[in-house]
């Protein structure tokens, strides 16, 4: 079974802090994604990556950056956390020949 893990289930940070969210998948998938999910807005794509060191902006990249130094790991960085970044963050991946995404359990981030 594909496993996607995220570094934390719950995280509380202060405004202005730099925040790192880590995602690791164990199925050698090329494609990895970061979403945020907010009530009434659904899943919105922040960034995605098709390969190591490659990244593409999604629909809401402002205030975020990403890093993909190894194929299995995709990190989301909040350079200076703000209260409007309080959300559920979900990582996903999929492999070649399929479009079904495998999601991690999510990180609920609260910025105070």
């Amino acid at each position: 079974d594909v496993k996607v893990t995220q570094s934390s289930r719950y995280l509380v940070k202060r405004t202005g802090e730099k925040v790192f969210l880590e995602c690791v998948q164990d199925m050698d998938h090329e494609n990895m994604f970061w979403y945020r999910q907010d009530p009434g807005l659904g899943l919105r794509l922040i960034y995605f990556s098709y390969d190591v060191k490659m990244k593409e902006k999604g629909d809401i990249p402002e205030g975020y950056s990403v890093s993909r130094e190894k194929k299995e790991r995709f990190s989301l960085i909040l350079e200076s956390a703000s209260t409007n970044q309080t959300s559920m963050y979900l990582c996903a991946s999929y492999g070649p020949g399929t479009y079904e995404q495998y999601f991690g359990p999510g990180t609920r981030l609260t910025v105070t």
Binding site: G42, L43, D59, A92, Q101, F103
Partner: protein, 113 residues
């Protein structure tokens, strides 16, 4: 750009009945459409994928239809059970490259005993 509408925010039905959820999209016809299940506080879980040249797909008690004329997909759960209570998301490719997908905001399904 492509937009998705899942018509109902919430749907409540009696156990044993068939639940039918709707997903409508605008603009071009996607190459494929997917349905996911999400439980509270968890990540979505893939259920079914249907391609543009397929009219219907089944998996156990689940059935998905895809009508490119109506720009609509229907998701059915037959013989529904309280354990089927969850939020169901539809998703489809955002553009003709089929390189990334967008999600609807979901329909929260509640099955009462």
């Amino acid at each position: 750009s492509q937009k998705i509408e899942q018509n109902s925010e919430a749907l409540n039905i009696q156990e044993g009945k068939t639940a039918t959820l709707t997903c409508n999209y605008t603009n071009y016809s996607p190459a494929y459409l997917q349905w996911y299940r999400q439980d509270p506080g968890r990540g979505p879980v893939f259920l079914l994928l249907i391609r543009e040249n397929e009219k219907e797909k089944r998996k156990e008690r689940l059935k998905v239809t895809f009508d490119t004329t109506l720009k609509q997909s229907l998701f059915h759960i037959t013989a529904s059970q309280p354990a089927d209570s969850a939020t169901y998301l539809c998703a489809l490719d955002e553009d003709s490259s089929a390189s990334k997908i967008i999600f609807g905001s979901g329909t929260r399904l509640s099955i009462r005993p």
